[in-house]
Amino acid sequence: MPGWTSSIKRRAGEMLHLPPDAVGSVARVTIVGDDVTIEGAKALLEVSADRIACDLGDRVVEIEGESFVIKLVTEREIHAAGRVRHLSFGGGRP
């Protein structure tokens, strides 16, 4: 049962008032201006100049926009820059 350790972690985080991404393996999608940062990504599904799709484990984030430039791709993080038009979260992994 994978929820066992994660629920303890979540409880501890709630007690200590920690942000959830500091404790568990929760994804975080940050968009500041034209900078897009996806942390805790499981897999990069699709990437192109106008579309980035990324598996976050329990859902898929799809970012649509224009002239994306990927600054950095690592196993856990994706940093991109570009004008974001549309952001959507899809269901589980297809």
């Binding site: 950095l72 791709v73 196993e75």
Partner: protein, 404 residues
């Protein structure tokens, strides 16, 4: 995971131009394999990306499966830099030679700076001492003795210096010296007498060496021997020394006006500001009415453009009110003042230590509002001065001027 920039530089990275139908799927695959990519640009028919040399191996392994072709556009990092340097041997040798020459030149003393020497002679002395101690221009710094030892050697060779310090700052050696202060000349061992410099009545004789020739209450004349250096008439002679205190009389002529008029500032002031253009002044600020009599003090700016003084300057003037004051002195006050002035006069005449024994007014005359007085001041002072022993046979009480 090699994703710090420094690691990327050390291991080397490449900028790739990737084309082919499966490029985007390949990128997703590489991400899942943990390959770090940077600066991914999507263009019409391909992708420009930067990845490490390790990433390149992954790409090579899976390019067939995705039907992708790639071309290396640019290489970055240490391994490629090293290769390039190996190819340009002369350049690499030049760089190494530059560093080596710079290092060699910086380990030579290029300048010896001398501080603290007064005059060219002392500086030359210090330089010579430094050269003899092994500190000179062109010397290897590694061959120099430690500064403390250098300083010791130099101070032994420079007799006119009381202390020498050596400090090596880069390629400059700073030598700091403190010159000896010429000492007080030793008292002359030449036999001499102590003679009177002024007429006076002896009060006290304190001889530390020599034969006392006078007694208290005796009147002496200038040049008279007070303490003789001749111990016996034909015997050994010594440099006489000691103090001879005598009462000396001075007369001073003093005149004191009884009516004194002066001008004094009252403390009120008015200020004005002017713009001075050439010779003319334009009043800009301060239109208060000035007191009838004033003392004016101006403060002018010094506006310059380079060395050229501008013809336009700002002048701040302060007008202080002045009031004349007159005060009358009565004769008794004038007399007191005359005594004080006479004492000051005597103090400058006597020169050296003295004690005023008493003052008396010999004569006074009041004429047209001014008190004229002749004042006698009696002073106790040392009247002795050294003088050479005259040849045996000449008069011991010869008259002559002596330096006090």
């Amino acid at each position: 995971m090699s994703d710090s920039r420094w690691e990327w530089f050390l291991r080397g990275s490449v900028t790739l131009w990737v084309t082919g139908p499966g490029t985007r799927e390949l990128l997703a695959r590489l991400q899942r394999e943990g390959v770090v990519m940077r600066d991914v640009h999507f263009t019409g028919d391909g992708v420009l990306l930067r990845t490490s040399v390790d990433g390149l191996r992954h790409l090579m392994a899976s390019r067939r499966a995705y039907g992708v072709r790639f071309r290396v556009v640019d290489r970055h990092g240490a391994p490629f830099l090293g290769q390039r340097l190996l190819r340009r041997k002369a350049f690499a040798a030049g760089a190494v030679a530059f560093v080596a020459i710079l290092y060699t030149l910086s380990s030579i003393v290029w300048r010896v700076e001398v501080l603290g020497a007064e005059g060219e002679d002392q500086e030359a002395e210090l330089r010579l001492a430094a050269a003899e101690a092994g500190l000179q221009v062109g010397q290897w710094k590694s061959r120099l003795a430690p500064p403390v030892e250098l300083a010791e050697r130099m101070v032994a060779r420079a007799p006119n210096f009381v202390w020498v310090g050596v400090e090596v700052k880069g390629s400059v050696a700073v030598v700091r010296g403190i010159p000896k202060i010429p000492g007080v000349p030793q008292a002359s061992q030449q036999p001499c007498n102590i003679v009177a410099t002024r007429p006076g009545v002896i009060l006290d004789v304190q001889a530390s060496r020599g034969r006392v020739m006078v007694k208290p209450h005796q009147l002496v004349q200038p040049g008279q021997v007070l303490i003789s250096g001749l111990l016996t008439d034909r015997g050994p002679s010594v440099p006489a020394s000691g103090h001879v205190f005598a009462e000396v009389w001075y007369t001073s002529e003093v005149s004191i006006p009884l009516r004194v008029s002066s001008q004094g500032l009252t403390g009120t002031s008015v200020s004005r500001d002017y713009l001075a253009v050439g010779g003319a002044r334009l009043r800009v600020w301060g239109f208060q009415e000035a007191p009838p009599t004033v003392y004016e003090r101006d403060r002018e700016t010094e506006w310059h453009v380079g060395a050229w003084r501008l013809p336009v300057q700002w002048v701040h003037a302060t007008l202080y009110e002045v009031k004349p004051a007159v005060w009358q002195v009565d004769v008794a006050q004038a007399r007191d003042e005359a005594l004080i002035m006479a004492a000051a006069d005597v103090r400058s005449l006597a020169g050296g230590d003295m004690v005023i024994l008493g003052q008396s007014i010999l004569q006074e005359r009041l004429d047209r509002g001014t008190l004229y007085a002749t004042i006698l001041t009696r002073v106790q002072q040392d009247i002795g001065a050294k003088a050479p022993i005259p040849d045996v046979g000449s008069s011991p009480t010869s008259q002559g001027a002596a330096q006090s």
